[in-house]
């Protein structure tokens, strides 16, 4: 169990991602997601000018931020941050699908699902009772995705690192 200063996260290491999209489709298949809904997306980022062009990859899903902007923006208080494990969850009964969370999220993660409420990665914890690895983590050939429990400070640093990577690319 998570102790009070530690939170769950799936960390991402761009140096180990080959942009195979295995995580994205594992998530779609295991969570039976409809067309148009991706809880994890793989992005290509461009850097530099020809002929010194280079690129990097990001496999992006909800990071369950230490200080979630989505929760702060939600007018219905439908998004909750759980102190015991760091998970950020959405209550479908309260969510009205206003998309203020999508605008607030620095990563642009939240999407509106088929039922008109917000959907995002839940780390597969409730779905699987926590007894096996999330399919995206399990399927990654380079082990670029890792489910772990880390101190809040470390998690915040990881959030910043990913944000900087996203902003550095085109």
């Amino acid at each position: 169990m998570a102790s009070s200063d530690r939170e769950y996260i799936i960390t991402f290491d761009p140096g180990k991602c080959t942009q195979c999209h295995g995580c994205e489709i594992a998530c779609k298949a295991w969570r039976e997601l409809p067309h148009g809904i991706q809880l994890r997306r793989v992005l290509n980022l461009w850097h530099g000018e020809y002929p010194r062009t280079t690129s990097s990859s990001v496999a992006l899903a909800c990071l369950h931020c230490v200080d979630p902007a989505c929760a702060a923006a939600c007018p219905e208080e439908a998004i909750a941050k759980h102190a015991e494990n760091g998970l950020v969850t959405v209550d479908g009964d309260l969510c009205t699908g206003c998309e203020l969370c999508t605008q607030a999220c620095p990563f642009g993660i939240p999407r509106i699902g088929a039922d008109g409420t917000m959907v995002k990665c839940d780390l597969c914890r409730p779905a699987d009772g926590g007894d096996s690895l999330p399919p995206c983590v399990d399927t990654c050939p380079g082990r670029a995705l890792v489910l772990c429990e880390i101190p809040r400070q470390e998690k915040q640093a990881h959030q910043q690192k990913l944000l900087a990577l996203l902003k550095s690319g085109m």
């Binding site: 140096g15 180990k16 080959t18 942009q19 195979c20 999209h21 295995g22 994205e24 489709i25 594992a26 779609k28 298949a29 295991w30 067309h35 148009g36 991706q38 290509n44 461009w46 530099g48 000018e49 020809y50 002929p51 010194r52 062009t53 280079t54 690129s55 990097s56 990859s57 007894d131 096996s132 690895l133 399919p135 399990d138 399927t139 990654c140 050939p141 380079g142 085109m170």
Partner: protein, 735 residues
């Protein structure tokens, strides 16, 4: 996950789990053969997990592998044998039963054999798979040499390498300090298999990575250096690199002295190819060519991984042998961290292709030899070039093929010259399509055979380097489909060839193949995650052995008559080809046909692999199509801007041979003088209401864009077909 986790998970969720082999890039293929746990709920195949115990994928599965259930249950599945009732190309069929279908095919093939000879039957080869030998066996028993090999992958490298070095030099990924990926896609060709893992591991241990290709794919994005070469000009780059290492005396004198033949003649010949010339043709700056040559020559543990990208141009054979020569003269053969001669496994399944029945008479009857007659058979047996088989139907030279079976292959989108292919299929006497799902050329078929996927059958076994595994049945066959193996066994029996086809018993066929390994199929099936075989300890510098190998030609001549690396190739010379590698322009190119540039200023080429589709199939799978819904033309932002074209605009791409309507992706990582797109686009996706694209002009099938001129579009010795041309790109204006 591992076996116990898979079992526990299935039990906890009221599901069943079947350990088997993934079928999404073709089990037994070079990148494929990943181990999976397939989950079944209420009789339905629902999802997969990677098998930790498989040494191939070690628990990982790629996007295609995870999308398998959508392929299996696609509305595009062919569920019954069909017989044509409309005109050819119309696509009107009636359902028939298996016995009627087999009898119809057997009767027609017997009649054609009687009337035109057995060579009038050709088989269009799918990519190399575990079933390939069954297909060859059928043709050989029938008496035809016309196995239609694609002429676009793998055998071209094997041929040039073996006739230059005696063996295929495998990069020593694990111990190299420098790996040059040349025309190679280490990730998309099996994203969770060994080459992709080796790429990542090399990067993580700090090996330097250089990528040579026209555009930046994710592997290039992770490389240390990108060498942006023009499509189809790798030969020029390699010749200029040889020039540099010889001019600057960066060669391994001892190795050249003892193990190379014809160095003096190479030295004189290579003077014509300085880096400045290399720059003019390949577009790679002369300084970068020099730096690359010096770096490679000066790094003892340096390996080159040469890919399929060099096999699509009229100078393909010379590109490959120039690279082989570069390895040899710089001392990078069969040494630690360089390119290795990996011995074949000590025990292998029985080869059932019946190559021992080949005769000189059969060889003479090849309708369009993939390699010249005197070099036949090569490693995969006697072969005609895939496109030339279809061409013979139109030209009737040297004689027309009368019957074609196309199992798991789509000539209208696989090979070039689609307009001629369509005409040939219209004219062809008898055409059989055997496939899992609707194909581009199914409307031309006389008989359509519904094939089961590997998830629906309990055969074959898959042997990939390091792993032997039984295919296990996950679900019952969809509709009345049967496996490709069953089809050829049953057809063999129906033709009266039962003695050569185990009287139709698949079990006996597999046991016969496995016998040399001391196993039966039942024994193998008892091992839930197969048999892993650790690689042997490497032995280096096996030069005497490697350079004295015999070729598979009927005469069994050695690959290397001098027992040395053929810098100067007397075998090619005797057959009327240049003994030294030379440059040959593609049919249309910046340096070869400058007169075309005002009208067609950009180079067009295509990709053969992608992260989410295998070749020309899988566009009908919703999960995969979501990643890449439209055919995208990679174009540099500057090239687009100067034409008033934005991102995701629909554009017309026109070459001297045809035109496409595709969408742009502004792509900073591509040469500004080059545009590229993925090959194989035609199929719609019914679940997403996406329609098929036209197969010829106005569609997205890149094969129509290239020359198929007999004198310009092929490599003269290995029939590699060109996939370069010149084009103009214009914003699409709906009229």
């Amino acid at each position: 996950m591992n076996y116990d986790q898979a079992m526990n998970r299935a039990a906890a969720h009221g599901e069943q789990v079947v350990p088997t082999v993934c079928g999404m890039c073709g089990p037994g293929g070079p990148g494929g053969g990943c181990g999976i746990y397939a989950f079944v709920k209420d009789g339905r195949f629902v999802r997969v997990a990677g098998m930790d115990e498989s040494p191939v994928n070690r628990g990982a599965v790629c996007a295609k592998g995870h999308a398998a259930p959508q392929w299996v249950y696609s509305p595009d599945r062919i569920t019954h044998p069909l017989r044509r009732i409309g005109g050819k190309g119309e696509g009107r069929f009636e359902k028939i039963d298996w016995d009627t279908a087999l009898a119809h095919i057997a009767m027609t093939l017997a009649r054609q054999k009687e009337q035109y000879g057995p060579e009038s039957l050709a088989l269009l080869s799918p990519a190399y798979r575990s079933y390939s030998d069954y297909l060859k066996r059928f043709l050989t028993v029938h008496g035809s040499p016309n196995y239609g090999h694609s002429g676009i992958c793998a055998m071209q490298r094997a041929f040039a390498y073996k006739y230059t070095l005696g063996d295929y030099p495998r990069p020593d990924y694990d111990l190299s300090d420098l790996i040059i990926y040349w025309g190679r896609q280490p990730i998309y060709s099996g994203p969770v298999a060994r080459p992709a893992r080796a790429f990542l591991a090399a990067r993580q241990r700090g090996a330097e990575i250089i990528a040579i290709k026209p555009s930046v794919e994710p592997d290039v994005g992770m490389a240390d250096v990108w060498v942006p070469v023009r499509p189809g000009t790798d030969t020029a780059l390699a010749l200029a690199m040889i020039h540099v290492v010889i001019r600057e005396d960066l060669i391994d004198h001892a190795f050249v002295e003892q193990w190379c033949y014809g160095f003096k003649r190479l030295k004189a010949h290579i003077r014509d190819y300085p880096p400045a010339w290399g720059e003019k043709v390949s577009g790679v700056p002369a300084q970068q060519i020099e730096a690359l040559a010096r770096k490679y020559a000066a790094t003892p543990r340096a390996a080159i991984d040469l890919g399929n990208g060099v096999e699509h141009t009229p100078s393909s054979n010379d590109a490959i042998r120039a690279v082989a020569i570069l390895m040899a003269i710089t001392g990078h053969l069969d040494r630690l961290g360089a390119n290795l001669f990996v011995p074949p496994p000590q025990a292998a399944p029985r080869d059932i292709a019946l190559k021992e029945r080949y005769t000189p008479e059969m060889r003479e009857k090849l309708v369009g030899p993939e390699f010249p007659i005197e070099f036949q058979p090569f490693s995969e047996g006697l072969s005609s070039a895939y496109y030339r088989i279809l061409e013979s139907v139109l030209t009737e030279k040297p004689y027309p093929i009368r019957g074609i079976i196309a199992p798991g292959t789509q000539p209208l989108v696989t090979t070039r010259g689609s307009k001629n292919v369509a005409a040939a299929l219209r004219k062809l006497d008898f055409y059989v399509v055997a496939d899992v799902a609707r194909t581009a050329d199914m409307p031309y078929a006389d008989i359509v055979i519904p094939l089961a996927t590997s998830y629906e059958v309990d055969h074959p076994f898959q042997m990939v380097p390091g792993w032997l595994m039984a295919t296990n049945r996950v679900i019952d066959p969809v509709g009345s489909s049967k496996s490709i193996f069953d089809f050829f066994l049953d057809l063999g029996v129906a033709m009266g060839y039962g003695d050569d086809f185990w009287q139709g018993s698949m079990e006996q066929a597999l046991d016969d193949q496995l016998a040399p390994l001391g196993l039966s199929m039942a024994d193998l099936r008892e091992k839930p995650h197969g048999v892993a075989c650790a690689p042997g300890k490497p032995v280096y510098e096996k030069f005497a052995e490697a350079f004295s190998r015999t070729s598979p030609r009927l005469e069994k001549d050695p690959f290397l008559p001098q027992g040395k690396v053929a810098l100067y190739n007397t075998t090619f010379e005797a057959a009327g080809f240049n003994p030294l590698p030379e440059w040959r322009e593609p049919p249309e190119s910046i340096t070869g046909t400058p007169e075309l540039l005002p009208e067609y200023p950009l180079i067009l080429s295509d990709y053969h692999t992608s992260k989410n589709f295998s070749a020309s199939w899988q566009r009908n799978i919703p999960h995969l199509r979501e990643i890449q819904p439209d055919p995208m033309l990679h174009i540099h932002p500057e090239a687009a801007r100067s034409r008033g074209i934005g991102d995701r605009d629909w554009v017309e791409v026109k070459s001297p041979h045809g035109w496409l309507k595709v969408r742009t992706e502004l792509y900073p990582g591509i040469r500004p003088d080059t545009v590229m797109l993925l090959h194989g686009w035609w199929q719609g996706c019914r679940e997403l209401d996406m329609e098929d694209y036209p197969l010829l002009d106005g569609g997205a099938n890149v094969n129509i864009m290239y020359s198929v001129d007999r004198n310009k579009a092929y490599d003269p010795i290995i029939t590699a077909m060109t996939s370069q041309t010149l084009v103009q790109v214009k914003k699409w204006e709906a009229s």
